[in-house]
Symmetry: C2
Subunit: 219 residues, 2 copies
DNA sequence: AAATTAATTTAGATTTAACTAAAAATATTT
DNA sequence: AAATATTTTTAGTTAAATCTAAATTAATTT
């Protein structure tokens, strides 16, 4: 059983690992947790003895499968509580983080099972981030091109399939960025262009070619 | 701002104070908290410097008005969470204590405001204990004689109005004690006697005189 | 490749909240 | 009221989680 502090370190390690980095450094963690490097060194030694991370002096840490499972359960709890706060208690999505940071450490498996049921098994939190399931599995978001979406669907931009500077500049101009919420309004039969609404602003048309190069996932 | 540990001490002091004791002793607290007396001495010194209790060596402690307000707010949070767990998450009333012990320490005034609203401003928790209001006021339970109750009401014994040994012995024999749950079934017109059910056991009749001397409150 | 800079670890200190053992104060019994 | 027992406090330790300062290792520059 991990202490609250250990849980927070593990969560930070998980998040940093997922940002592409393999081998999370002491300084990255110190930074993320607003703590001194020396304190981090102490704690990662402790976490390593608990087999939730692997650690080699001066080489940074990597999360183990056991550690990942624990981290994902904490994230599951965090995101379920965020859904509760927004859906049931009428908080704004940007007000809930600090409260969920506290609630995620409450210990009771039954509580989380019942909360999940009460919220009708949500698959994403209010920020659009996926909620790991009971077994610590993250549903892999199905990637779709905007061109493939059905009218009416609310999607979130997760990637682009083209790194051409002209293309990226175009996206920027129409207001599309990673994480933007896009509602598909209509597909034009004639030329395959698509009418979309970005972040609830007035709708715009994008060409078929553009719509094929923006990857989204169900929100 | 009190630490989680300090909050737990303060709550224990509040509860012990309310059991009639004025001057909560070190050993009572050690007992209640499953802690050694020496540890308690350390902590009460600390709480005294924070002006939430008053303390004189070897004389025990008393809660201050400031301390009482904080204790009541913790109790408010505890009881609101219990209502949430039972009413919304379908827990049994006897399963919720440990979880509420954790939830009561979550820090966010807005959260508790919203939770209160979501639960439709309950006045008692699932054990029938009153929930302090935002200002730390406990609704004073209205005392009634059993003789005055309407049939169907579920009440809880809070006092007796007679300290005659014979009377108390009679109460003991029929199974009435402070805290007992009493359901009033019927009042007999003829002689004013009352049929009641005590703690869900088979019903008994008590005389008008007995019914006038047992004070209960709405459960 | 030597020198310099940056990152990391070690060593030792601090704070919080616990503990044990011994001393001191208070309460109870004879 | 002395003796005994109980309660409470003091003194000194321990463990967790932090810190600073110094030492060590790794990375970068010249």
């Amino acid at each position: 059983m991990l202490s609250l502090t250990e849980e927070n370190y593990l969560k930070a390690i998980y998040h940093l690992s997922n940002d592409g980095t393999k081998g999370v450094t002491t300084n990255m963690l110190a930074d993320q947790l607003s703590m001194r490097a020396a304190s981090v060194t102490d704690m990662i030694k402790k976490l390593a003895t608990k087999d939730v991370i692997s650690y080699e002096k001066y080489k940074g840490v990597n999360i183990t499968p056991a550690g990942k499972k624990i981290a994902l359960y904490i994230i599951r709890k965090h995101r379920l509580w965020e859904v509760f706060l927004v859906d049931k208690l009428k908080f704004q999505w940007d007000e809930v983080h600090d409260i969920a940071e506290q609630l995620e450490h409450i210990k009771s498996e039954l509580l989380i099972k019942r909360l999940d049921e009460f919220l009708d098994y949500p698959s994403v939190d209010p920020h659009g981030d996926p909620i790991p399931d009971e077994h610590g599995e993250l549903a892999v978001a199905k990637k779709l091109q905007i061109a493939e979406c059905l009218p009416g669907q609310l999607m979130q931009v997760i990637a682009v399939d083209n790194s051409d500077a002209q293309f990226l500049k175009h996206l920027d101009r129409i207001g599309i960025y990673l994480g933007a919420k896009v509602k598909v309004l209509e597909t034009v039969e004639f030329d395959g262009s698509v009418e979309i609404e970005i972040d609830r602003r007035p709708s715009v048309y994008i060409s078929k070619q553009t719509a094929e190069n923006i990857l989204v996932t169900e929100k």
